[in-house]
Structures are given as C-alpha cells and as structure tokens.
C-alpha cells in the first residue's frame, strides 16, 4: 500500500548523494554538506569507501553526531588510517588516487563550473562575498569524477557563473586539457534537492538524468536560469528511505542544524 514519506529538501539531497558513492573507491570530501553525505553513505551503504579530507585525514570514520561546522576535529578524523597535512593530502589527488571528489557550491553553470567566491558586482567590489575556494579548486581539478551537491534554486543554476572558483568543463569540450588540467577529469554528477544531472559526453553540458518521484521535468527545469539537456529517458529517484532519515535525524544531526530545509513529501 502506498505510503507518503515526509522529509526536507536537504535530507533528500543528502540521501541521493549518499547512494551515488561507490564502495571500494576513494572520495575527496569537501567541507559542509559533502561531509554529511559521506557519513550517511559510510554508515548505510559503503563500509569500504576511503574518505580523504584536505588537511590530511586519510580514511576517517567519523564519530556521530556531526559537530556542526567542524572538519578537523577529533570526531571528524576519528580512526583514520593516516594523519598528515595539506600538501600531502593534495598529493593523493594530484597523482590520481582520488576516484571521486564531492563539493558544495554557491552557483553552478551548464559546464559544471563552480562559484563559491562572490555573487554580483565584480571581484574587487562584490555585491556579496563568500568563503572562496578552500580546497575545492584542487578537488575539482584533480579528482577523476567530481560530484557537486547543491540546493535546487534558480539563482544557483546560471548560464555563466560570476566567478569560476573550481573548474568544471570551463567553456566546453577540451577546455580543461587546454588549460593544463589533468586529462580525463571533470564534473560527473550534480546532486540537487529535486533532481540528478550528469554531463553530456560530446558537448560537456549538464544533462538532466532523473527527478525525485512525483516531481515533473518541467518543475525541475523552471527553477533553473538555463535549460539543461534532457537524457533520452528521465529516471525517477525514490525519496529518502526510513533508514536514511533515521540515521540522518537520530545519529548524524539530532539537533537538525544541517538537515533542516523546505518540507517535501513523496510516495515511499
């Protein structure tokens, strides 16, 4: 019998991100939401994934609950395989050992270029200023496949980002290699609070792959300031499972600092 499940947009985004992580692979995890995605994945789906944090925590198995805002704390880096520093951490990605990278973003464009530096105005005189790259530029430059996790809001999906903080496919096919970035790298998926996107092999443009159960393609596309390519068949993503929600709400973020958001519902 059909049952309706209630969740927030953030919970859905985290849950579908967690399902994308492959077991037995390595993943370079960015600050913020990607940490929570990786925690959920490791708890439920991928016990043999090796996470890496930019300051040199190799293979951490975070203690839950998540201490908001922290990344380098004893909870985050618990039971790592190795503790190093930043220059060594980026050596693991620069030599090709990082299968996946996972990053949040302020803005993203059709080529998967990420802006986390400023919105509006100019760089010298921005309308709003944010934290900038952190290690995101290295993650997006070095990892074989970069997964971008971003709320599905129109102002975040723009034809051209205000500032390329971390490189996607830049201005199209071949542009990464031409700039000198490592061959065969680039954005792989964009995980949002409504849908999942990939990138077209030929044009390198963002392509809608699937949508949350009960959400139409038009609902997804009307929220974006550019029109993505559409996969020949658009898949359906199930909403968060009971297990995913239980781990998120009871184990990872009992105070709901991270997982709160817009209320949503779907058929379980």
């Amino acid at each position: 019998m059909a049952r309706t499940i209630e969740f927030t947009d953030t919970e859905f985004m985290i849950a579908q991100g967690a399902r994308l992580i492959e077991d037995g692979k390595t993943i370079f995890v960015g600050w913020g939401i990607p940490q929570v995605v990786a925690m959920l994945a490791q708890k439920l789906y991928v016990p043999n994934v090796t996470q890496l944090f930019e300051f040199g925590a190799i293979g951490p198995q975070s203690v839950l609950p998540f201490v908001r805002g922290t990344m380098g704390g004893p909870q985050n880096t618990y039971r790592s395989l190795q503790w190093l520093n930043m220059n060594w951490a980026f050596s693991y990605s620069a030599t090709g050992y990082m299968d996946y990278g996972m990053l949040g973003a302020l803005q993203v464009d059709p080529y998967g270029n990420i802006n986390s530096t400023h919105l509006g105005g100019t760089f010298a005189s921005p309308a709003r200023r944010f934290a900038g790259s952190g290690g995101g530029n290295q993650v997006a430059s070095h990892c074989w496949k970069t997964i971008i996790v971003i709320k599905h809001e129109g102002r975040r999906f723009v034809p051209k980002v205000d500032f390329i903080t971390s490189p996607g496919y830049l201005d199209g096919p071949g542009a990464r290699e031409k700039a000198g970035l490592p061959r065969g790298t680039g954005p792989h998926r964009v995980v949002t609070s409504k849908a999942l996107f990939g990138f077209d092999e030929e044009s390198r443009k963002m392509t809608l792959l699937s949508v949350l159960r009960g959400v139409s393609v038009e609902e997804v596309v009307k929220d974006m300031a550019f029109r993505p390519l559409l996969a020949p068949e658009i898949g359906e993503i199930p909403p968060p499972t009971d297990d995913e929600l239980r781990v998120l709400r009871e184990e990872i973020d009992p105070d709901r600092f991270i997982i709160r958001g817009e209320k949503m519902a779907a058929i379980a």
Partner: protein, 325 residues
Amino acid sequence: MTTDRIRTEGGVEYRFVHPDDFREHVRDRKGRSPVPKLFTAKEAVAAFVSDGDYIVYDFSSLTRGPQSLIREVIRQRKKELWIGAEFTLHESPLLVGAGCATRIDVGFLGYGNYIGQAVCDGRVKTYEWTNGGLALRILAGARGVPFLPTRDMLGSDNMKVSAAKSITDPYTGDPVCLVPALNPDVAFLHVHQADVLGNARIFGTNLFALEAALASFRVIVSAEEIVETDEFRKDPMRTTVPYFLVDAVVHAPFGAYPGAMPARYEIDLDHVDRLNAIRTDEQMGKYLEENIYSVADHDEFLDRRVGAKRMRELRRRATIIEGYR
C-alpha cells in the same frame, strides 16, 4: 625563462622574498643555540609581531588554533597585517573587525556574514590563492625555491586575482601553474607539547605546521603543556618542529579556546555560536571589548570570561583519546 613562455598571469600584488634574503635572515638572525625561549604571549607578540607583518597560523579556529595568540595580536592593536587565510573561520573576521588586518590571501576567507560584508565594503583586500595554492606557496618557501608548479588553479578565475602564472612547462610542453614562494613574517602554531627550547609536538593533522615554521621569519609556538627535552629524544617520530626554527614558546593552556584541543578539551559550541552570529560592527565591538580588550591577558580571559567550571566541563567532554598522546 623567456617571457613568451608565460601564458597567463594575474599580476596582482603578492608577498615575496628572494630565497637568498630569507637564507641570510636564517644565517644571521635565527639562533641555533638551545636556549630557553619561554615568553608570555604579551612579550612574544610585542617582540615578534610588527605592524604590516604577514602572518599564518595552524590549524583552525575550531580545532587546535592559536586563538590566545590571535587575541593577543588584537589586544596589542597591531595594524596593516596581511594574513594567509588557510582553513580560516573566525581569525579573519576578528582580525579585520579589530582593525588589525587589511589584506587576506584566500584560502578560505572565513565563516559568517561579517567578513564577507567587510570585503564588500572595501575594508579588506583579498587575493585568491586557494588552499592548495597557499599550502604550496609555503612549501616553496620551506624548500628555499622561488616557486613551485602545480596542475590546479588552471582555467579558474583564481588565476586572475592572484599572482599565479600559467606557463608552458619545459618538460611536457603543456600549460602548468606556478605559484611563488611565501615566506611569512610570523607563524603561530598551537601545539600539544613543547619544551622551553622550542621543540614542539602536534598530535593529529595539521595544515603546514613544519612548512610554515621553516618558511617564516619568526615562529611563535603556544603550547598546552611544557615538557622536558628528553621526551622528544625518546620519541623523535613525534616531533613536529625542532627548536631551532622557533623564536618563542608561550605556555598557553586552553590556548585553542573556544576551539577544541584534540584529546585535551572539547569545542565550546556556545561561544562559537556567538562568534558566528556577529554581523555588525556594534556586535563585533561588543565581542572584542568583552573577550579581549577588557581582560589583561589569556589567563584573565580564562578566569573571568570562561571560568573553571566550564573548562572542567570541556575537559571532561574530550573523550576521544585514540591516536593522540
């Protein structure tokens, strides 16, 4: 290098010291003799930090950061500082809010609305080097070379607002990014243990503790605990920084407060939330007055603003010991 090898360059101002000038500083000004260097924070900051200095720190405002030294810099109202904001959360809003810092190499600019607004208002200039780029600049400074190459930053707009250059690599013929060495004036390291000579130990990860100590003109270590030199000789794998890189040792229990010191005390999230909530100059002024200007030093801050009860509680909550000793 002929100039036609250069493909792109940002051309903005950047901190640079010729490696020979740094070497001569090391030859002439850094003592090799193992002598006690215990200072109070007040003495160390007064002696080794000047207006206009470039400063870096390790690790984070939430974990093992040299927060008592940052507060002392603010208390002494240093001016025109240029900060290397790597893994930075609260250092930048506090230093800019207090009028101490006017230029920031980013890194990670910082947390909260205050610092972003300060950039928008033109109160502080930023240059975008990225975390990896800044760490590599400090490694170059630590290796005594003028630059190091890397295969990131390329294609991004950070190349336009830093002094990184894209050149044609003479080995592959492909474009490669170069970043110039960074030799900061001062590095602040907060460590678990140090001896009076300056040998220092960090337990856990770090940003670039050894690189920053090697690359910086002056190094101030603040330590939770002062131990005997023999402790280092018994377990040399665990030495983070040897004494001759260090100019001053400050004994600073709870020096990372309100951040955590792994295996010693936990983060004070209530205090961190107060920092995160600062949006206006009025709120910033109130915070600085209450926690920095109105107390004489770190000890008085701990006694009067934090309190023995809270410190006991934070110590009690530091239950993760595995991996730290």
